[in-house]
Amino acid sequence: MSDTNVISLPDKFDFSFHKEFTKKYDDSIINASVSEIVLDFSRVSYLDSSALGMMVLLYRKAQACNKKVTVKNVSGKTAEILKMANFQKLYAFE
């Protein structure tokens, strides 16, 4: 049976969350039983380019281990930024 790791992102998703973000997904990348990593944007009201960079890095690591990456509960300005960056090409959106 496969597991999903849901990472709840903070109100301000920028480089200050880098260390915690990496810590939250590192185990899931190694753990074979985790098949999907979900980024929960319900609290996010701001994200910058360094956050997009972190998401690209997570995508690359997940892709190398055949894991699915998903974005959920994204809205408003945050959704516009992700759309402009065309992140639907990297992440599944729910």
């Binding site: 360094s50 997009l52 402009m84 960056a85």
Partner: protein
Amino acid sequence: MNDLIVKLLLVSNDYAVDSIMNDVFSSNNFELNVFNTFFEAKLKEKTKDYSMIIINDDMLSDESLFSFVLEFSSKYPIIIVTDKEEEKNIDKYFKIGISDYFIKPLNLKLFWCKVKKILDDDVQRKKSKEESKLLGELMHQHKVEESIAYYVYNHMIGEEDKPDFLHSYTLSADNFSGDIQLHSQSPSGSHYILLADATGHGLAAAISVFPLASIFKSMISKGHSAEMVLEELNSKLGDYIPPDRFISAILIELDLYSQQLKVWNGGMPTVLIYAENNMKEKEAESENMALGILGEKEFDTNFLTMPLPKKGFLFMYSDGLTEQCNKVGEEFGEQRVFEVINKTSVEVLVDSVMDKSNSFRGNMPVNDDISICVIDFEKI
């Protein structure tokens, strides 16, 4: 205080005080050197690195004590042990830098605690001074390295003569800009304009755009197609820059032979194309991933293609423009950009948008690099 031997210099000719001091500092961690005159003390001072000077001044003249303290108080903590209680006297010596002043008879417990505190504070002061000196050296080294980087940056990316139809401006959030605007003309006469925005800002972002500038200029000058230039940029940036970095970009091709305008937008704000009456005619939204993320197979080089307008203009910018905040945290936004465009002639459009942006920002710092580029079709 640590376990090293702490060397103290005592200037005194009162044997009773010498004896008390020897008792106070009898532990193994202290070495107390006693001298009867300032002359002897000065000679000894030259050969040893003392942590503190204690002066018992009963037998010493006021003039020689004053000049001695004046000479050494910037170098060592100095404490005076005396039987002179006059406030004027106390004030005088504190003004020239003594660390403490004890009236005899001494309260030995209080004396010991204060001496220990002065010595500890002095150790911290010296440590801070060394750290401050080291910081100064590092800052100087950083400035030298930054000036070298700036030289390379200017020679690789620095502004060249732009054609008359191109109006552009970049406001950096730092000494180095992660935004870049390049123009190059191919052997066939087509003009290529690249507006790119690397992740972040400052030197780290600027480094990412170095390879982009050299590849772009080299490939255009050899007559490669816009599609090939994009593929090469995407591939090389994927190899050269860290995996959590990428470069959003807009590539414009003005094909003068077939009279076509081609726009590729990867992760940048929508490119706006206006007719001569400042009416919006077409938009080129970001429909592609930024450069340096996707592999060769997934990377898309589809351009928006349309006849090259004879009049009107193209307006493009980096997200630093619309995301700049004012003092109440409000973003500049697209609407303010549209308002300026609607009432401004193309010749002064870049300046007008920047004036509006700067006045909106007020005294707030520039959050991110801001770039604006306008192509005046009539002047091509």
